[in-house]
Structures are given as C-alpha cells and as structure tokens.
Symmetry: C2
C-alpha cells in the first residue's frame, strides 16, 4: 500500500516520516487539515522540561534530541528522534509533560500538530493509536539501551553509536555537529569527545572539520560501536514492520 514510488512523490512528502507513512490514505486525509509543515532550526527548543508541549512534531529531515538535565547542570540525551518518530509522546501517554527537553540537533523540516488536535485525532483513529503505542515501545527500548550503555560502555563506543544514530536519520554522510554538542548529548567532557573523535579520524573512519563530520567508513563505525546500536535498531525495525502489517 505504501510503495517507494509514493515516497518519492512530493504529493506524499509526509510519508518521509515513517509514522505518517504507516497511515492509510484515508487516515492521512483525516489528519492532514491539522498538520502544518514546519522548519526546525538548529538549537530550537521544541518543549521545555516541565511544560506541556504545545504541539506534536513529526520530523522528516530534522533530528531532535530528548535531553535530561541534572540539578548540577549536566545533561544527557535519552533518545534521538528523526523521520522515524514523533516528538511529544507525552501528549498521548498522559496529556501533559515529561521532565526532559526536546532540542533540535539537526535543522530540517517536518510537520506539527496542535496538542489538542493531536489528542482528538488519536482518539478518533484507532490505527494511529496503535502506531504511536508501538513507537512508544521503540522509544522505551532506546531509552533503556541508553541507560545500560551509560553504565557499561566506553566513550569511544558511545560516540560511534551516537554518530550512527544521526547517520540513520540523514540522507547524506555528513553530520553537522560540534564536539561540544556531542559532549552534551553523551554527558561527557568535550575533551573526551575530542580524544574519541581523533581515534576515529586516525583510523580513517571519519573526517572532522570544525563542526562537520564526514563518515567515510560506516561499517567500521558499526564495528567500533557497542551492541546497543544494533539491538535498538533491530528492535525498531521489528516494531516498524508490525505497523505496516496491521
């Protein structure tokens, strides 16, 4: 029902987001009136910790981080959301907020829908509810994986993993990201990122140039990453297939 021909067609550009693509044409026509195309700019804050999100966001080319802050000001990324997902699941789960911040890490495009419209749409449309529930589980998997990764794996491994997460959500092999941004996401010192990135650079796996990372050897990057990357990805693919098989 959703062929790649559709996806390439600009009339079906919404299908660049996997969740929207999982809807039937009929469902999409119900959602469309409330959907608004948006541009996400770098470092834009989509919602703050403790405030109820005003919109649900469906990125197509943009990439968003969910960041968790500690009292002492340190931060850690707990999830990455690109064209594979949606920002603002808490609107579905509780209708309110979560204690984290949604920050645009890669500028780009997407759609948004007002919170109330989204709630209404979800409850009149069982298919979308199921799609979002499955994505909630993919989210949980990503978060638990992050928890374990933070405990057991080295910065080298985690940097590799993080680069792959961005790469999967981009159409090129160029990641626009400074070492300081990466250090905020990983929750480590910027210098530690420099060390890890240098190792990758010396191994010819990436090249680095003032905020522009070019991935030269993706397979090698996967080899240096911990299993967390593969595990979370497999799980996401498994759940995504279930969406289309409904």
């Amino acid at each position: 029902m959703n062929t790649s021909a559709h996806i390439d067609n600009t009339a079906f550009i919404h299908q660049q987001n996997h969740l929207l693509a999982a809807m039937s044409e009929n469902e999409w026509h119900q959602w469309e009136p409330d959907m608004e195309p948006v541009d996400f700019s770098l470092n834009e804050v989509l919602y703050e910790s403790g405030k109820t999100p005003a919109y649900m966001y469906f990125p197509t080319t943009a990439i968003v981080s969910l960041l968790y802050m500690t009292l002492s000001g340190a931060s850690s990324e707990v999830a990455v959301i690109g064209n594979d997902g949606v920002v603002g699941l808490s609107l579905l789960l509780s209708g309110s907020n979560t204690p984290n911040q949604a920050l645009v890490q890669t500028a780009g495009k997407g759609y948004r829908m007002r919170a109330q419209a989204a709630k209404n749409a979800i409850h009149r449309d069982g298919a979308m509810l199921n799609i979002l529930l499955r994505y909630s589980q993919a989210m949980i998997t990503q978060m638990t994986q992050t928890a374990v990764c933070n405990r057991h794996h080295s910065i080298d491994q985690q940097l590799s993993r993080r680069l792959l997460l961005s790469l999967d959500r981009l159409s090129s092999n160029e990641i626009l990201m400074t070492q300081e941004m990466l250090s905020n996401m990983l929750g480590v010192r910027r210098e530690s990122v420099t060390d890890a990135a240098l190792k990758l650079q010396e191994a010819g796996i990436i090249s680095y140039k003032r905020g522009i990372i070019t991935v030269l050897d993706r397979e090698a990057l996967e080899g240096r990453s911990c299993e967390c990357y593969a595990t979370a990805k497999n799980e996401q693919v498994r759940l995504q297939k279930m969406m289309f098989n409904d």
Copy 2:
C-alpha cells in the same frame, strides 16, 4: 470513591495495587473474572528477553526488576515495579516483547491476567487504557532517570536511591537483599556495593546482616541519594493523582 476504609478491607485487597485501585468498582468487576491471585517467589523470571510475556502482572506485596543484559553478561536494572505498577506493558504497547527480563526481587503476592485477556480488557475499557498509558509515562520517566543517574552519579548515591525504591514498595523497613543482588541491579561490582553499604552502615543509616538490610534513618538515606529519587517519585505521584481525577 476509593477511601482508605476500602483499602484496608480484604474484600478490596486488589486495591493494594495502585493501578487496580484507580479503577471504579464497575470496571473492577469486569476485570475480576480474568484476574488470578499469584505468589511471586524470589528470583522467579516473569518473562525473558525476547519472548512475548504470557501474562500481565499486578504486584501487591512483591517487587519486580526489569533487567537489561549486555552481550558480555553484565546487567543493569532499568525499572522497579511494585504495588505502584504493572509488569508487561509491552502487551499494551506492541502486543509483543521487549529486550529485557522481568525478575522477582522481593517475593510476595499479586495478580496476573493472561496476555490475550488483558489485551481484550484494555480495548473494551477506556479508563484502564488511560491508566496504563499514564503508567507508561511514569515508566519512561523512571528509565530516563536511570540513564542519567548511570552517567552522572556515584555508586554511593545510586545505592541510596535503589534502597529507597525498594523501601517505597514495602510495608516494613527491612529489605531482603544481598549485596550481590544489588550489584546486579546497579550494574557494578559486588565489592563496590560493600564499600557503599559500609559507609551507610557506619553512618548509622542502615544495618546490614547477611541479606537483611534494615533502614534505620530514611531521611538520611534520602539525603545521600541523588535527586533522581525525588524527581522520579514526584513525577509518579503527579501522574497517579491524574488517574484518580479522571
């Protein structure tokens, strides 16, 4: 609608579980035929990583850990579930499994419901769906908090936090737990737990005796814990209040 008089009454013993307690009498009567009282024994595995859970479990006096294993055999706990929640949310979210293991950490009682019956019940009963969705968010909060805690806080802090999580789900101040069990949950060496536990013992906050921890000074324990404990608990209380206010 749910008074403390009800909760003390053995006829309403199901209300020892907060999620079941949030249902109206009518709803409970719909659920009751499929609910089966169970005894959870120590170290019992409720579901394995990668296998679809056969039941949803609602603990009353038992406490269950969600454990995530790495390839190298190391483990980390990503969530703790007692009378505040339910084990097997993945049945709601995707109808399938998650890549983690549910292990009984404190023997006790509870209820269970066959997977298919639970799915049916959730979809015929909107109130329970909302209750479980809110709990999913509380779960996500707990997991993200764990991720950040693993990154930024010391073992001393994390041990304190973990003891409080058990304490909150028990009716006494005695926790039956060996240092090795704690080390598996925290994902650290057993010796590191010994060190941290000794500090607490020397400070007169706990007493320790071959698998029996007695918490002597709960407030001091909270003081030694990181903010993660308070944050997650506040969030859970907030979401729980929303359930009763529907």
